[in-house]
Amino acid sequence: MQTTQNSNFSPEKALGYAKTKADWAGLRYSSETTTYRVVRNDKPEKNSSSLEEGVMAEVLVDGHFGYAATADLSEAGLQRAFDQAVATTKGLSRHKAFAFSAEQRPLAKGEYRSPRQKNLDSTSLAEITDCLLAASKSMKVSGLVVNRAASAVLVQTDIQLFSSSGSAVRQSFDLVHVSCAATAAEGAESQTRTWAPTGQWGGEIFNRVTFATESERTAKEALELLKAENCPTGTMDLILMPDQMMLQIHESIGHPLEIDRILGDERNYAGWSFVKADDFGKLQYGSKLMNVTFDPSFSGEFASYSFDDGGYKATKEFLIEHGRLQRGLGALESQKRSGLKGVANFRSSSWNRAPIDRMANINLEPGTDSLEEMISQVKKGVLMTTNRSWSIDDYRNKFQFGCEHGRLIENGKLGKTVRNPNYRGVTVPFWNALAAVGKRETVGTFGTPYCGKGEPNQIIRVGHSSPPCLFRGVEVFGGGA
């Protein structure tokens, strides 16, 4: 881990100063070290690391929360940040969208630490490069595999919250995002297959044998796709594997349930939502097999934590139960504005951004079927694996998603591989066509570091855990102009 200037940091003094100027004050310290390792075609491509470190000074003035970010952690630097936050917030408070109070920043005390068996710190960079080289080499299964890339992103984050009401929270995260990708090409055709485990792990993830085995499978599947037929076009049944369910949950459940979107904050950028405030408790979002949770306590999932950035204690909550919409994704500010029940999801991407309502871990709870039982229920359909393409409208209704790999299903049996599998639909009818949900043993847990939202823009980490699921009567199609 790169060294920080944290030893100079004295939040108590700064908050003592801020308390004389604001109705409430908070400080969020964030230090994040990110290490990138990329190997391509058995050669090192990129070796880099970054340290982002700073604080967000936050004040409540005349019922309005405002922010100022600085990387100067000295006493004078923190005072300057608070002075700036107070001056701007005071000046703008008469145009405030809503009158808040310190109730939206509860007293919080506690700690969180990612589960890991081996500190990322104690995993040598040579060890990681060795794993990536093994992956790159094992993808060399044919001359048609023209590009073999293996990368690892290691992140260590330390977030500390302090407030004038006595909050003191420290959360430390170890995160790993791996990607191994093989591209097979011949003539005008090209197919890429990836393996991308993502989670709150330590160095234990860097197992040379696993990297080599999974990467070889990836390359062989890319080759298989190169020779495969295009996915057929038509209305048919669809089984989505967990690494595509991740995206389906994210785009068509997570985003539309964000209360700040429902309240219109996001209208100019990511968009609004088809969900209305009075839909909660009433809307049959999906079939009765659909149970969806916000679960920050899921061990090892990418966006697990104990407190959000407003100091709100995070707990597992059902968002959708037996298909009925119950609860939105909004923290204390959104709950106060909307009168809706929410969750602890007031999150920021870094020290230099104010928190907003974000997804964290949004999971589809397991059902009762094995994958084989699901396949046996399909007369004509496609099983799709691993997201490749994603697009949905700004109200989160009309989506079109594509996957890397497809398998035909005919008369209850898995058939040949098809390439360029895509499908499209509309959110509520699609989820109401949910006909089977895999049992606990079939669950896969994935995540992404790249969920974009907010003005100014923020990228944040999310996790999604799900079993495979069967949907009836979906519009499926392949590639081609």
């Binding site: 690391s49 100022a68 970010a69 000046g91 950028y269 949905i392 100014p456 590639g479």
Partner: protein
């Protein structure tokens, strides 16, 4: 010049001097600075939802020794002594790490690519004045959006005496107006806030919003003649920076423009696109300090002239580099205008769709350069050369080979600047200049 810019310049030069003095004879170093002192004000319902001041300086080192390359970056505190100590430690960490790495055969050795120094001063409103200017002028409107302002800096030096400095003071208001679920979009950007210009900009958006009050039109999926207004066309063209124009992506077998690059396909002779740094939206130097030509013709009358090629890609694949950035995406893309006068657009469209904006584009089949996305904001059904009324948002799915090929009917003679308004990590520099496009048989699917 702005006080922040002056202090940042002084610190950058001092830190670089200290770092270069610490180098051993066989070592080389490139240093990049990205910095901003920004005010962000977020609006919802024409009220202030959040305000954030952000002062940040980020310094990155690219260290080379014995055929190895290590890159490290960190946030600077702004305190020279603290930062100098941190960076000397960071340089030492680079040295140690380089020893653990295999040799990099595609390493691009550092050289002196010259010197440049550009500073653009603005006249920006303070926070209170900016909020007043937005809220008072838009009184009675449901406005949502983001105001961002302040200086942005990009600078580069290396141990071969190369030196570049670029600083600009600017602002943008990226906003939309709402009438219930219907919305129209506007962007007002520049270096000096002019109340008259802002009012005129807002009025244009209000007029579009008024058109959305016409009776809603039910348009079924199908193929329609379609006009993409400059912002919508800029969204479509922007996808070319997702790998299509990259030399590395082509050579790695993943380029949506593979057939174009291999000479097996052509686009319409009406379509020409180039990098044009003369637009003044972004510095010409990249993170290696290489200075791009003022213009680079990429596609000329439908035929590929050049892809964007970084020095590293050039070395690996034997291509000619053109000072592209590491990601080989466009930085200042200009689509050359055509001959269709803006006032004739509806007449030429006749019956079809007028789209002001697109949303959430992605490759749906990269091999055939097929893209899917949605319509967004002020989108209308046009009949007999007149706007009939707004449509319900439609999903579309179309290949660039078709939309920019045989289906491209005309480009407008007026092109609009599309300033970069991205703020991930920091405020973006750059943008583009794009005309409107009339396209036949554009495919709508849902």
């Amino acid at each position: 010049m702005n006080k922040f810019v002056g202090q940042a310049k002084q610190e950058f030069q001092s830190l670089c001097d200290a770092l270069f003095q610490s180098l051993k004879s066989e070592e080389d170093l490139t240093v990049n600075l990205g910095a901003e002192n920004s005010l962000f004000v977020r609006f919802n319902g024409n009220r202030v939802r959040q305000n954030t001041n952000v002062e940040q300086l980020n310094l990155s080192l690219k260290f080379q020794s014995a055929g190895r390359t290590v890159e490290k970056s960190r946030t600077l505190s702004g305190n020279l002594e603290t930062d100098r100590n941190s960076l000397v430690q960071l340089l030492e960490a680079c040295r140690a790490e380089a020893k653990t790495l295999p040799e990099d055969p595609n390493q691009v050795p550092m050289q002196n690519n010259g010197q440049s120094n550009e500073e653009f001063q603005g006249d920006l409103l303070g926070a209170e004045a900016a909020a007043e200017a937005v809220v008072r002028t838009a009184e009675g409107s449901d406005l949502a959006g983001l105001y961002a302002s302040g200086p942005v800096i990009a600078a580069n030096r290396n141990s071969k005496n190369q030196s570049h400095w670029f600083a600009t003071e600017s602002f943008f208001l990226d906003y939309s107006l709402y009438n219930g679920p219907k919305a129209a979009k506007g962007v007002y950007a520049g270096a000096r806030w002019n109340p008259g210009d802002w009012k005129a900009n807002l009025e244009r958006t209000k007029q579009q919003l008024q058109l959305l009050g016409k009776p809603a039109q039910n348009v079924k999926p199908g193929k329609y003649k379609t006009y993409l207004a400059p912002k919508a066309f800029a969204d479509l063209i922007g996808m070319m920076s997702w790998g299509a124009l990259s030399g590395a992506t082509w050579k790695q077998g993943r380029s949506p423009f593979k057939k174009l690059a291999d000479g097996e396909a052509k686009l319409s002779p009406l379509f020409s696109v180039r990098e044009n740094f003369g637009l003044g939206l972004t510095p010409r130097f990249n993170s290696l300090g290489e200075v791009a030509p003022s213009t680079i013709s990429l596609i000329d009358r439908g035929e590929l002239r050049e892809l964007l090629v970084s020095s590293r890609t050039a070395k690996e694949f034997g291509l000619k580099a053109n000072a592209a950035g590491e990601g080989e995406g466009a930085r200042s893309l200009e689509v050359l205008p055509g001959t269709l006068d803006e006032k004739d657009v509806l007449k030429e469209l006749g019956t079809g769709l007028y789209l002001s904006n697109l949303h959430y584009l992605n490759w749906s089949d990269p091999v055939t350069a097929r893209i899917t996305g949605m319509t967004r904001y002020a989108c209308f059904w046009v009949e007999g050369g007149e706007i009939a009324g707004p449509i319900k948002d439609l999903r579309w799915d179309e290949s660039l080979y078709d939309a920019l090929g045989s289906k491209l009917m005309a480009l407008t003679s007026q092109a609009e600047i599309d300033p970069a308004v991205g703020t991930y990590f920091a405020r973006d520099l750059g943008g583009g200049k794009v005309p409107g496009a009339l396209i036949d048989q554009f495919t709508f699917t849902l």
